[in-house]
Symmetry: C2
């Protein structure tokens, strides 16, 4: 537990009103989208890297964990204070410091909300592609720490591809600059990409220099509906084989469609699979590509394949896609969302395999996501209050990962490892690779101060009475 | 020096005919494009990772340096055996193992020549963008180790952006797999991008899973000629501000133009600056963009701005661009090629600054390169046999770096640090960043076996008599 002198020093560093030790505040910083609770001992809202540096230095001398936190929208527990300690929330550090239209870069603080930043650059005719589903809440800092993806990754890549350089507070308290503010740079080892996706275990990002693109001139949206999953998957493959890279190529399986319709009633047809496809680029080619995609859908037995004719229709289509997650919670109160990836040619095998696991185990597994890059979110629904079902769901996770790996895939496309996938790390990585990563962690963080209990298996665990109590709140 | 038992064991591992200790062979593996000579004690041509692993394990027990080598086309000495030891040439490992058109990936061995690989994928309508000037000789393995760029980087990014996963022999002899064979993956720290650009100091790449794109439908090529460098630089900025990202946006300054014309006579006009611009994409938009670019050139006082009308004309234009390097050697026998980068809005300041350094020091400095991403190759010409001029050139290097850094740039855009830039590392990186990098090196390579004397300043140096003797050959 934090001593009184430590608490006083925290208040001195960030200012009285920017530190809290009150239970009701700690509760707010104890959870993320995994819906598990690990209350910290303090939450602070620093104004900049110097304050963070002082806190981290004290953490090293007094030996308490420090947990960086954006908006807490992660699906693997990256921002959970699983070993207690001090949560460093970046929510006060939310300035867009510079948008440089001439050099197509921006300099932002970590607490900037992704969606707000995108709106700001789009007003200037610029484009920041990464679009995780959480983008209306999640922050650039959190997106960088987890290397967030999103529907547009199929064409535009992930967060990693838009980070040119970083400022970060190291786990020992020093402040470093990595990377460049130019389009290119190869000076020494790539610390920038090492920090990207390191889930807050190697440094606390305090500034990011981001790469921007010109905003595409036009986007076309299609909804294609299939009576057979195999036809939808064949469509995905044929689109790419035709050398069209859509800006979005999303798939919903029958379980997802049914859940959305039962609980959200947005007017989706009864079908085995739906593809949501967008093409973008110069006006002529966005339309030409959309028409070509439509032909491919029809050629693969889509019984509906319409290019949306107006903004309202596009909005409705996206509303259905975005309704899935919420709709699923109406079916069952708890969800394990595993974002596996397979080569896109193997999506059919993946989804049929997921359906087989669901059938055999009597579980509801809704599969949807970014079919264009083979990244499918397998949502295993269960009720935590039913211990047998919870166990069944937990066992299904290992089967889902095993399936993805047998199909030459990976156990995490964009959610990271965090806490929830840590026990499975060894399924994908060799002991040698894990040892190297631990060596890197040790180099950065000799005292194990920063975000402990993440990525690597073997956490001791710390389930407190408070946690169980709080759990009732949800 | 290598003992006889070590030499015999090397022969046993790779086979008698795949190991050499003969002076004439060692000479061939003692140099790169820096035109300095450091003969190794042996050169071996292993057939795969297992052989490399055995060699590296022996290197750890017997303590000799191991130096991976692609084609030896690097500009910073990355493949030079500066501390002797065994050169591991990847030239026998040159299979394109798989081109997966459905998933837009390829699996290659490190010794594949970049250009040959590009030809092979283009026959399938696919595209591997990285195009360093050395691409007709340089290998994918070397390109990855140095994170090579090229003219197309302005639109398509650098080698880093096309590496999904790697197989590598670690400096301790283990063989690891990193990354994924899918479009996405965030499982643990990003060892893939840590190996990319690590200049052969963290691992010997034995296989690479590369990302491919569909081949653009059309490319348009323009040559624009200016009487004032500022107009050319303003053109570069205005093109990007107009939200056109050309696939190539190259600049030649007056010194480069003059040298090419004096020695290669390809028919370039007498001018202060030339831009070579390509636009690509769907047929309509490539042409539309080229026309828009032409208007921008004319609006910025280009006295010529022509879209090439046929393949021959395009070939002639590129021949002029590619003739620069060779032409410069006709002016002076030695060249220091420093690839600095600045934000593209500051190119004028950079080139005028380079011209000022040249004037003040009485040196020939030809500046050309990838203006679109602010990456300019400053070629300082001198004669090594004139010690005063050599010293003058060496001193100019520090001034060039200082200039680039003052303009918010970097000292290396695509050539790496290697040996030649190592003394200047501290100009760009903080001591803390360098310490972290050294810690990473130590984690990977506790015995300092792999490619010693690179990146980090403070190499002891090892200038042998043989080196001096060999030097006469060139």
């Amino acid at each position: 537990m934090l001593s009184e002198p430590v608490k006083n020093e925290l208040k001195r560093i960030v200012g009285e009103k920017n530190a809290s030790f009150a239970k009701e505040d700690l509760l707010c910083y104890s959870y993320d989208a995994t819906n598990t609770l690990y209350p910290p001992e303090a939450v602070v809202f620093p104004g900049g890297p110097e304050e963070i540096s002082l806190i981290v230095k004290m953490a090293n001398s007094e030996r308490f964990p420090v947990i960086p936190r954006g908006a807490g929208t992660g699906f693997t527990g990256g921002s959970l204070p699983v070993e207690g300690g001090v949560v460093i929330s970046t929510e006060r550090m939310k300035r867009v410091i510079e948008i440089d239209a001439e050099n197509l870069t921006a300099l932002v603080e970590p607490g900037v909300v992704t969606w707000e930043f995108q709106q700001e650059v789009e007003r200037l005719g610029l484009f920041y592609p990464p679009d995780p589903s959480s983008l209306k809440f999640s922050t650039i800092g959190g997106n960088i720490a987890e290397c967030a993806g999103g529907p547009r990754a199929v064409k535009y890549g992930v967060t990693r591809d838009y980070v040119l350089g970083l400022e970060a507070v190291l786990p020992t308290g020093g402040i470093i600059q990595t990377g460049v503010r130019t389009a290119k740079g190869v000076v020494g080892y790539d610390l920038t990409r090492l920090l990207v996706g390191s889930e807050g275990t190697l440094g606390i990002i305090t500034r990011a220099r981001l790469r921007l693109l010109p905003l595409p001139e036009e986007t076309k949206t299609l909804l294609a509906v299939f009576n057979d999953l195999k036809d939808a998957a064949a469509t995905v493959s044929q689109i790419i084989r035709s050398r069209i890279i859509p800006s979005t190529l999303e798939l919903m399986d029958s379980t997802s469609i049914r859940c959305v319709e039962e609980y959200a009633m947005v007017g989706l047809p009864n079908a085995e699979a739906i593809l949501l496809i967008e093409t973008d680029g110069p006006r002529e080619s966005a339309l030409r590509d959309a028409q070509a995609v439509r032909e491919i859908c029809i050629g693969n037995n889509a019984f509906r394949a319409d290019i949306a004719s107006g903004k309202k229709e596009v909005k409705d289509i996206w509303q259905a896609r975005r309704a899935i997650s919420a709709a699923l919670f109406r079916a069952k109160p708890n969800k394990i969302n595993e974002d596996v990836v397979v080569p896109r040619s193997r999506i059919t095998e993946l989804i049929l395999g997921l359906q087989e696991i669901a059938r055999r185990r009597g579980l509801l597994i809704a599969s949807f996501g970014h079919a264009g890059d083979g990244n499918i979110h397998a949502n295993i629904m269960y009720d935590r209050k039913d211990p047998a079902e919870a166990m069944n769901a937990e066992e299904a996770v290992a089967e889902v990962f095993d399936l993805a790996l047998r199909l030459d895939g990976t156990i995490s496309g964009e959610h990271g490892i965090g806490v929830t996938k840590a026990p499975y790390l060894g399924m994908e990585l060799s002991p040698q690779a894990v040892e190297l990563m631990k060596g890197i962690k040790k180099t950065f963080d000799p005292n194990g101060i920063l975000n402990p209990g993440k990525i690597f298996p073997g956490r001791k665990g710390r389930r407190t009475v408070e946690e169980e109590t709080y759990a009732g709140v949800f």
